[in-house]
Amino acid sequence: MPTIDLKTAGPFVALLLIFGIGILVSDAFLSAGNLTNILARSSFIGIVAIGATFVITAGGIDLSVGSLAAFISGCMILLMNSLVDTIDSPIAIVLLAMLASVGIGAVAGLVNGLLTTRAKIEAFIVTLGTMGIYRSLVTYMADGGTLSLNFGIGDVYSAVYYNTLFGLPYPVWVFLAVAVIAYVLLNMTVFGRHCFAVGSNENVARYSAINVDRVKTATYILQGVCVAIATIIYVPRLGSASGQTGILWELEAIAAVIIGGTVLKGGYGRIWGAVVGALMLTLIGNILNLTDSVSNYLNGAVQGIIVIVAVYLQRGSWRKH
């Protein structure tokens, strides 16, 4: 059916439009350097947004992702710095830190999940609470300042952000891999199917012998792991963590998810939508940097307008449905 195609294509069309604006605004926009920059940049929010797609599809919400990212960054840096003296190989240290990162992410997700499903507290409150907790903890860990990665390790680790494979930086490959895996998970496995069912109608899901609590908890764990992966490619970029790291990532991630066509009330989610949404947000920021026809003070306004219009355009095609 053509209408279904339009509906799926909506975010892509909006993305193309913004891309077109970019081309018009600056010659440099299409340079290889700029394009890879955009891709690498959007990978953080993109990966977080992919996790958020699961949570939102299953009817939840997670506001703690930004501060969880900061907290994991902090933990990774402290861990690596403390291992410098005991382990010789910087690569081994980095790998250990990556493992720890995923572990912390998973546990944090589990905590969010259990608090919402077992303790039956609204996800909004739980994750608003954990958001405050992680942010405080990282400030505490950094003594109010900034945690910096040991220079030697940073040098080795920075390859993860800056090196390229077939012309594309590693983060882009990671982003792609996460997207493909998530796509398969959401659309081709039992678990993904259950996410849709739980988000769409919890009672029906329960009546269909689906363990609703387990599915929901699993989405939070996935979100935690996605944040951990995003952090793994974030830390080598800036090599530090502070109370300011990852601020407002949660809003950006949720915006990306919804721009991509996932429904905030749950029951319908699209991984590619989240990817497109993340790209779109990054593109808007990039384009605003390419031109000085807009006062810097008004960046936020232009961003807001473009997001609303982009979503409107894709909804326009929905409504024919």
């Binding site: 496995t189 849709f196 769409s200 029906v204 012998a209 689906i210």
Partner: protein, 526 residues
């Protein structure tokens, strides 16, 4: 109370069951045996506790007191399971329940719904291909022509019910429980279902069947268990009971004639509602009809023939086709009904057939649901809560809504009582033109008579009524005239002697058509 002795092995049994929600007991002293290869019918008035009972059997509700026993296939050594009888366990043991209300995920497709909770996989992945193929097979066995990839929310209710039924074939049932499965099905579809039930019975599956349609019970049941107000009336062999017996035992008194004689005739001089050349979205034949003052105009047709679509368009709940040039007159004055609020202002009310999806706020109490449609009648600047409560109490009485707990949520009412509440909600607006879409869906036989009487009285007092129903005896028994639809087209309006089952069916299946209104060639340029 003589239980009929059959030799079939017992699969599941209940002893001395009691079930309470909070302080309210809804079932007590229930003994029941479910035997393989047998159709056991459960009968009872609305709110008698049938649905609650079968939910307990299938592990959706816990047992408050008493024993639930699972009998081993070998007929020896039965296990008491009531303490940990959960739905997953029940399903593993082959106890499958089709709920009274649809339990489908609207956003998923037909195939996805059918395998929800027990998806087939190949390796770690969903085996979509096989699930689609099996879905097609299951639906074909039900003579149901639906594409497995259709999103659920685009299906009509009867199709959804068929999907519910198809769902059971994807599970290995030892006990199949059907709670009012035919409430939303046509006769033809019902017969297909009965054929399936018969096949399963032959294979030794135990069937528990709930319905308010007594002719169906007579047709398929081996044994009948009757409940009244949460207690057991008795177990009977089906051949021992006539339909009258069933009704009497259920209600506990003699029933008067179901269809009382009409005490009034319509006033054919006064037109209450005139629809002229209305073009419903998705159709290409404009429809015209008139409703007179004091008339009951029946709308017959097969499910999906477009009756709901037509009347929802009339009252403004749906947009008409773009090319629509039709007009609408209420009491001979042209009106435009943009939405239901406008319709209500012209004293038109519409009763939806989808009580769960668009009828009641399931998570709200009775008062709030009852007054929602006509709230301004109970409010000045502020809502008069006392007035609301008094009015509700009156209709609870008038419609015999059985509530054991005044604070019950609408979603926890029995299906039939929900339907009554919905009727009361619509009538609270005191409309003069009433459009009923399947008003007696899920209503017990005793109350049905009361509702028919009520509709008659409304007509006698000058109200004009449109009655959409898939129950052809209801249409014939009540209507002054019968409009018949086929494929979105109004094929005929029958009067007097023409109102007869076979004639209606001829129009309903497109064999006959009276109104040959030419299709307009010109299309309005949007």
């Amino acid at each position: 109370m003589t239980a009929t002795a059959t030799s079939n092995p017992i699969v599941l049994s209940l002893r001395n069951l009691r079930k309470a929600f909070g302080a309210v007991t809804v079932l007590q002293d229930i003994d029941l045996e479910i035997r393989a290869g047998e159709v056991l019918a459960l009968l009872g008035e609305n709110g008698a506790g049938k649905s609650t009972l079968v939910k307990i059997l299938a592990g959706f509700e816990s047992v408050t007191a008493g024993e639930l026993l699972l009998h081993a296939v070998a007929a020896e050594g039965n296990v008491r399971v009531d303490a940990h009888w959960q739905q997953a366990r029940a399903e593993a043991e082959g106890v499958i329940l089709i709920h009274q209300e649809l339990n489908l995920v609207e956003q998923l497709t037909v195939a996805e719904n059918i395998f929800l909770g027990h998806e087939l996989t190949r390796g770690p992945f969903l085996d979509k291909f096989t699930m689609r193929r099996l879905t097609r097979e299951y639906l074909a066995a039900l003579e149901c022509d639906i594409d497995p990839d259709t999103p659920m929310h685009t299906l009509a209710v009867s199709a959804k019910q068929m999907v519910e039924i198809a769902k059971t074939q994807s599970k290995q049932a030892r006990v199949l429980i059907l709670d009012e499965p035919t409430a939303v099905l046509t006769q033809k579809e019902s017969q297909v279902l009965f054929a399936l039930i018969e096949r399963l019975r032959q294979q030794g599956v135990a069937i528990v069947y709930i319905s308010h349609k007594l002719d169906e019970i007579a047709q398929i049941a081996d044994r009948i268990t009757i409940l009244r107000d949460g207690t057991l009336v008795g177990h009977y062999a089906a051949q021992d009971l006539s339909q009258d017996d069933m009704a009497r035992l259920m209600v506990g008194r003699e029933l008067s004639d179901l269809f009382p004689p009409r005490s009034s005739t319509p006033d054919y001089q006064q037109c209450a509602l005139r629809v002229t050349r209305l073009l419903v979205a998705g159709t290409n034949t404009p429809v015209s009809f008139e409703l007179q003052r004091g008339e009951i105009l029946g709308f017959a047709g097969l499910v999906g023939s477009g009756r709901t679509a037509l009347l929802e368009t009339v009252v403004g709940l749906r947009a008409a086709a773009r090319a629509n040039t039709g007009t609408l007159e209420v009491a001979d004055k042209p009106v435009v009904l943009r939405d239901l609020a406008t319709a209500r202002r012209h004293n038109i009310a519409y009763l939806t057939k989808d009580r769960k999806g668009s009828g009641l706020l399931l998570d709200k109490g009775l008062v709030m649901n009852f007054s929602l449609f006509a709230l301004s009648n109970y409010a000045g600047l502020l809502i008069h809560k006392k007035q609301e409560e008094v009015a509700l109490a009156a209709v609870v009485d008038a419609f015999d809504i059985r509530i054991k707990d005044a604070n019950v949520l609408a979603g926890n009412l029995s299906g039939g009582n929900q339907q009554k509440l919905l009727l009361a909600k619509m009538l609270a607006a005191k409309p003069s033109v009433l459009i009923f879409d399947e008003p007696t869906r899920g209503i017990d036989i005793g109350t049905k008579g009361q509702i028919y009487q009520f509709i008659n009285q409304l007509a006698a007092s000058g109200h004009s009524i449109i009655l959409i129903s898939s129950d052809i005896t209801e249409i014939i028994g009540l209507s002054d005239r019968v409009a018949v639809m086929y494929h979105g087209d109004l094929t005929g309006i029958l009067k007097d002697d023409e109102i007869e089952e076979h004639e209606i069916m001829r129009y309903a299946t497109g064999l006959k058509s009276r109104q040959q209104i030419p299709v307009p060639i010109q299309r309005a340029i949007g």
